[in-house]
């Protein structure tokens, strides 16, 4: 970042630091690195232990449990081989949940990124952009439970939203938004509304690093707004976009609380509104009378982790570009 541009002071300072390090006596470096390697394990060990014990261990246990029939603590595990996985494959309720998760990933993903690009391009030009940015980000901070409950009231057949539509003469558009046929579509819209602000923030953070003279230059070359975005913003914030896409893949497949709050009760949400994490909850600890099928739930977890890994690798591969330095 410092190599070829005007921030000369910083570059020089960095160079000086580097050269002074290079010119240090080699004996001293040897002693230092010896000291360093001596301290390596004492420093690494605590973090490693915590990581292994609290993350790696449970993950491994989850993998193991996915091959068992188990009701949870207090019950004897029973090895069932791949039966849980075969069952997933044949379980239409799981397939529906899986399909819903994929719909959220793809449909909401496309809409969110298109919106985020548009909004960040427009915001760039606007006054009070910081304030507007914060406003957009707001839904992301509010507790999803509060949003779920709030939207439930807002979208009541006689709620604020429909009353508003009727008030401006659009009665024909006023619909029972939470009726079973519309519920999932309403949830998709809700997710877009909640999440877009977060990706606008990310994209703007990427775009903000682009020095203004690139835009000035492209303006002089007669580029219109779209061309500026296409030739300047997009390539120069590509790494941020790639990260955002990865984040979205991971986050979208984990969506749970929003749908749960939205569908209202602690009964199992209706099949047409379930995502995989919700179905996992329903089959393990959730619902009026929990099913306590821990092995089955773990199998779902393993499938989802595998899916996330595959998708993330895929996204990284598709989005790999020569890094543009500036």
């Amino acid at each position: 970042m410092t190599d070829n541009i005007a921030s000369g002071g910083a570059a020089t300072a960095a160079q000086t630091a580097r050269s002074s390090r290079r010119s240090a006596p080699s004996k001293q470096v040897g002693a230092l690195s010896r000291q360093r390697s001596k301290l390596y394990w004492p420093f690494i060990a605590p973090a490693l232990v915590v990581y292994l014990a609290l993350f790696f261990g449970p993950a491994l246990a989850g993998f193991w449990i996915s091959f068992q029939s188990w009701r949870g603590s207090g019950d004897q595990m029973q090895f069932v081989g791949t039966r849980n996985y075969v069952r997933l494959w044949n379980d239409t309720a799981f397939m529906t949940a899986f399909g819903n998760s994929m719909k959220i990933l793809v449909i909401c993903g496309v809409v969110i990124f298109v919106l985020a690009f548009l909004i960040s391009a427009v915001l760039r030009e606007m006054r009070f952009r910081k304030g507007l940015q914060a406003l957009l980000f707001l839904p992301y901070i509010i507790s999803p439970i509060a949003i779920g409950v709030g939207l439930g009231l807002l979208l009541d057949p006689n709620g604020l939203f429909n009353t508003g539509l009727r008030g401006i003469g659009l009665s024909s558009l006023a619909k029972p938004w939470l009726s079973p046929d519309r519920l999932f579509a309403t949830i998709l819209i809700g997710i877009v509304w909640v999440t877009t602000g977060f990706y606008v923030m990310l994209l703007m953070a990427g775009a903000d690093r682009i020095p203004g003279y690139f835009y000035e230059d492209s303006q002089l070359a007669g580029a219109n707004k779209f061309q500026q975005w296409w030739y300047v913003t997009l390539p120069l914030s590509w790494d941020v976009i790639a990260i955002s896409a990865v984040l979205w893949v991971i986050n979208s497949l984990k969506i749970f609380e929003f749908v749960y709050a939205f569908t209202g009760t602690t009964d199992a949400p209706p099949e047409q509104a379930r995502t995989v994490p919700i179905y996992q909850f329903v089959m393990t600890m959730g619902g009026r009378n929990p099913a306590y099928q821990m092995g089955y739930g773990s199998a779902m977890g393993v499938v989802m982790v595998a899916l996330v890994v595959v998708l993330v690798v895929l996204v990284r591969r598709v989005m790999r570009r020569e890094a543009v330095t500036y």
Binding site: R71, G72, S73, G74, D75, R87, N90, D91, T92, A93, I145, G152, L153, D156, P157, N158, P176, W177, L178, S179, P180, D181, T263, G264, T265, T266, D267, A268, P270, E271, V282, M283, M285, G287, R288, N289, P290, A291, Y292, Q293
Partner: protein
């Protein structure tokens, strides 16, 4: 409704549980060292709830008289999940309580409860009656440990019934509630003719849709039929004519225009609150005995809660049955101070102490000699008249086949009530999906 409110506080409860400090009972100085001993009680109630206050008062009195120190944790509705976890490590609490179905599903299913036969044959503290004399045996049918002894001692009875506002003379229910299905439909028609949609229903809760189908199946086919069907891998139980007969009755309700507009487009508790407040042209609500306390704050001034039983049907096998679930005590297997816990149960079942559940917490107790709170008087009559012909909410299917309930039963009910299935289609769907579920399970 109570169980919902309980579950609504689910997440909060989980957090609360972590921080709940054990409350030492106010025993005198050095009480713990007395010969009285101690017991640990993890409760489903939370600090400040009416039942908690009643129980706490009894605990204080118990410690004072017996010198047994009670270490109590007001854990909240998720209490059994922690109790179940403790079973494995060998140090469960000595006493716990929850809804009967929850105790069955969480503890009894893994043999985690003690048979309480000796409690039932013991004399109640301060009375000459035995515990078994005051608790209707029918309440305990499904709650038997492997040795045949009941493992729950209920102190609260909850069930569903049809609620109405007795102060609204226009509906005529206080003087002449419909006793049979035909009378019921006739009454619905007169209300409909007056421009009303008499049935209030929060259709987003499938369990509430299913109240109607469950009741109708009970009336036609008797207690236990639905429960049996839920576990029948062959699906053959659904060929019982009671299912189709019940479905046809309920189809009449769904297609007859009796159910409140947009019942499936709102979020609970919108419809039940609107019913109580008189904001919708509705008259009745098929709901649990928690309805008065749950909708009370929204109720229109002067609203008088009364109820009548689900109408009987011609030739029905379950015409006298009542929906009666319980909330009660259980003692986890391997509890170290089981004797003290049993002593506390005998102490609490005393008419005056148990009476607090009715007078303070406004709930029905299983003792017929404890007067019900005014709003529950009709239900108490229904409960007593049933003798021992009780069924548990949802015919207890959710305790024996939770996956069937959430994936087959509730989905089919949702589609039935949303008009996607007719009566025949509903029964066929149940049968097909049940077979499919167990083939895959």
């Amino acid at each position: 409704m109570r169980i919902f409110r309980q579950r609504r506080l689910f997440l909060a409860g989980a957090v609360t549980m972590l921080v709940t400090a054990p409350l030492a009972a106010c025993g005198g100085k050095g009480a713990a060292t007395d010969a009285g001993g101690e017991l640990t009680y993890w409760s489903m109630w939370k600090q400040g709830e009416d039942q908690q206050k009643v129980l706490q008062a009894a605990i204080n009195e118990f410690t004072k008289t017996t010198k047994i120190k009670v270490k109590v944790q007001w854990s909240g509705r998720d209490v059994l999940k922690t109790v179940a976890a403790r079973l494995n490590t060998g140090n469960p609490p000595d006493l716990t309580d929850q809804d009967g179905g929850a105790i069955a599903g969480n503890l009894a299913k893994v043999d985690g409860v003690m048979g309480l036969g000796d409690v039932y044959s013991a004399t109640i503290d301060g009375e000459s009656k035995k515990v078994g004399d005051v608790i209707p045996a029918g309440l305990l049918n499904t709650y038997k440990a492997s040795n045949g002894e009941p493992y729950i001692v209920p102190y609260e009875v909850v069930g569903s019934t049809i609620w109405y506002n007795a102060a609204d003379l226009d509906n005529g229910l206080a003087t002449d509630p419909p006793a049979t299905w035909d009378e019921f439909i006739a009454w619905l028609d007169t209300r409909k003719a007056k421009g009303r949609t008499p049935l209030a229903l929060d259709g987003d809760i499938k369990f509430y849709d299913a109240y109607w189908t469950t009741w109708s199946i009970i009336r036609h086919g008797g207690v236990g039929l639905l429960n049996k069907a839920a576990q029948d891998k062959t699906g053959a139980t659904f060929d019982d004519p009671a299912f189709l007969a019940a479905a046809k009755d309920i189809e009449k309700l769904i297609k007859g225009g009796y159910i409140v507009k947009d019942f499936n487009g709102t979020k609970w508790p919108a419809q039940q609150n609107n019913w109580a407040a008189g904001k919708t042209p509705t008259d009745i609500l098929l709901m649990g005995t928690w309805a008065p306390s749950e909708t009370g704050p929204q109720a229109a001034p002067g609203f008088e809660y009364r109820s009548f039983p689900f109408p009987s049907v011609t030739g029905g096998k379950g015409n006298g049955a009542a929906d009666a679930g319980v909330i009660g005590f259980a003692i986890p297997a391997n509890a170290k101070h089981a004797a003290e816990a049993k002593k506390f149960i005998q102490f609490f079942m005393n008419k005056d102490r148990l009476g607090g559940i009715s007078s303070e917490a406004k709930n029905l107790t299983p003792r017929a000699d404890v007067a019900a709170p005014a709003a529950l008087a009709d239900y108490q009559k229904e409960f007593v008249a049933a003798g021992s012909n009780f069924f548990l909410p949802g015919d207890n299917a959710s305790a024996v086949a939770p996956q069937w309930v959430s994936n087959v039963w509730e989905q089919a009910n949702a589609d039935f009530f949303n008009g996607k299935l007719d009566a025949g289609g509903f029964v066929k769907r149940l049968k097909d999906e049940t077979i499919k579920l167990y083939k895959n399970g």
